[in-house]
Amino acid sequence: MRTLDSLSTTVPSAPDGPPDAPRPARQRRSPADLAFRGLLGGGGLVVLAVMLLVGGFLLLQAQRALDVAGWSFLTRQEWEPDAGAGHFGIAAVLTGTVLIALVAITFAVPLATGTALYISEYAPRRIKQTLISLVDLMAAVPSVVYGLWGAFLLTGNVVGLARWISTYFGWIPLFAVEGGDPRDPLASESVYTASTFIAGMVVAMMVTPVACSIMREVFSQAPAGEREGALALGATKWGMIRSVVLPFGRGGMIGGTMLGLGRALGETIAVVMIISPIFQIQPHILQLGSNSVSALIALRYGDATPIGISALFAAGLALFTMTLIVNFFASIVIARSRSGAASEA
């Protein structure tokens, strides 16, 4: 009271009635509120239960196959779970998955970065919203449509590029193609089809919008003061982007790419439609034959015995774990970055 008096605010005279005392801050909730909170908590509990059920079931089912296979599950390449221990493992499919994802990222990162920069820095303001919608639409296109596009249109047109790369860069083991002879004009070109490379290109189309929308979000948050500072110091637009926008958005770029990678790892149908599945480690990305974990599940679920199903679950668990780790690091990178505090990813 006295302190308030010292300010020049008039304090109303004390009311009649019981003297003022600190009231308990704890509020009593009405029954309706309690019921409402109960409903919300119940909803959260159900969701948690469903999620844990899925995760727990995945673990439980995978347990059996993992017990049978032991460490050979990580090192074997063939997939014959009915033949018992040592005859099935995810070495080949996991390598294939990672290679497809890496090819996809190689294509997606420049595309996503360029598009995000274009939308946030270069595009006229009138068409900006349209462009954002189009990128979102690209993320909503069903994967089976991308698969069609890859299998029917891209395969035929990429063969030339694949042959060219393998001819001139074949000395790098990654680009070598066994059985492809560039000097023989009659050699079949089918060895260049159904490869990791083509599958990766198609998956890149699905990764790009995911990465692009996060990058754009982050770029557009670059502080206007620093941008104007750079321009006022005489920087060109590119100088400003390089010295302000890109450093500011680096966390978002890495995080967005990793989120895209998470999607690339789990992609199924487009990959199945393109590759011809093999069960050995295929380090030559331009060559016919590849595989991925999700393709394995999609192709083998039907004829599987109980141990086969269990083995598929183990493969699914490995894929899930990998995706989880990637997403986890992505969110850490985004949250730690300067721009990440306000971003939605």
Binding site: P15, V50, G160, G266, A298
Partner: protein, 494 residues
Amino acid sequence: MPTLTPKHAIEEHTGMSTETLSPAAATPVPETTRDRVRSTTIPATAPDAAGTEVRRRTATVRHTDLYAGFGATVAALSLVALIYTQLAPFDGVLGFVVLAYVAFIGFYALLVSLDEDGPAVRDRVVGALVHSVGFLLLAVLLLVIGYTLARGWKAMVHLNFFTEDMSVTSPLAALDEGGVLHAIVGTLEQITLALTMTVPLAVICAVFLNEIPGRFSRMVRTIAEAMTALPSIVAGLFVYATVILSLGYDRSGFAASLAISVMMLPIIIRASDVVIRLVPGNLREAALALGASQWRTVWHVVLPTARSGLTTAVILGTARGVGETSPVLLTAGGADAVNFNPFKDWQNSLPLVTYKSVAQPSENMVARGFGTAATLMLLVLLLFILARLVGGRGPGQLSRGQQRRRVRQSAQDRARYARREASPVDIFDLSPAADQPAADQPAADQPAADQPAADQPAADGPAGADPGGHAAAGPGPRTAHEAVSRNDSEDRNA
């Protein structure tokens, strides 16, 4: 942005500044013009010695840029055409395009470097690269959509494609027989079932995450975010192993919708969580301060504010769910006949039919596959356009119809207040004593707080505030919020 290259800009700048600023700073403003200055008139300047000042161009694109771009295009096309037709045994469209593009960038850099310096050349080249990447992505998108529609057109022009199923049609039959009605029915039923299960649960969960913060909700959020990493095929495998193998039910549309739900649930929760988190805290606080209970706050303030965002989240999640093949592949079975009952017998769906059809050798089946894909694509496009029409607006930004409704409502409120003032109910026995000192105010408030529902007039006070509480936590704070959000968006634009 003007690129400040020393050759052109700086002389202009210095010339400008000495001419305009220094006389204005030197001579005091005359008495007669003082009132004009106050109304932000341009201060008097010294008469221009060199005649009238020429208005400067502020456009960021200069004529020379256009000339350089045009010239580089022509030069690149000519050079590569020359190489292809006369010099080297090259062929292939892709190679032509790539070579022409590389040549274009080279020529463009060369042309720009004729009258700009290093940093400016780099700036222009990067600008060209960024533009072309942006357009490349758009071109790919249009190509994907256009290619599907173009190849699907052959099947889609036959009306029977949408009215018949494949139960009596052989794969080799002509396109005027058979159709994908079974897939359309299946997809619509499965997604409806999945949405019925997913949307209430996801929205409740998202509200829970935001309204009851604590250790438990943090754990739920972590788990839900982790589950967004679940590959869709694993969701399908889960339902396949539980419902079909363990519980022994046959494959059905319901099993497929379960698989889609498992896949969609974390996606929609996460998107709704983000949207609800964006609801400004001052709206919530305003509602609570006006005496609304928590559920009233959520129901009348939080959810309506987040409505467009929530709708967008749901529709985009639906688009993902409709297009996903792998969960359905394991669980729906893939029937060829129309089956309206999702709980019994196999069903089919658009992506599944696409996947199965294009794998067949028959030319007509491939055409049907593309037709199915095009139908699916159109469905997704429709959902997407719907999402854009409904959403794309931040929380609190109102559509025109909502604004009109809001205006009408506050007009009604005003009329109501006017009516009430015209026939004053003596709420606190205070109304004639309006000129009494303010010291009486709390004294009068005290009994009302002590015995809120004791006497009818006193209850009218809070009731007057309470409909105001939710209707206008409506007009009042929301318009304030609108101003805030508009400021925000302007800031972002600036």
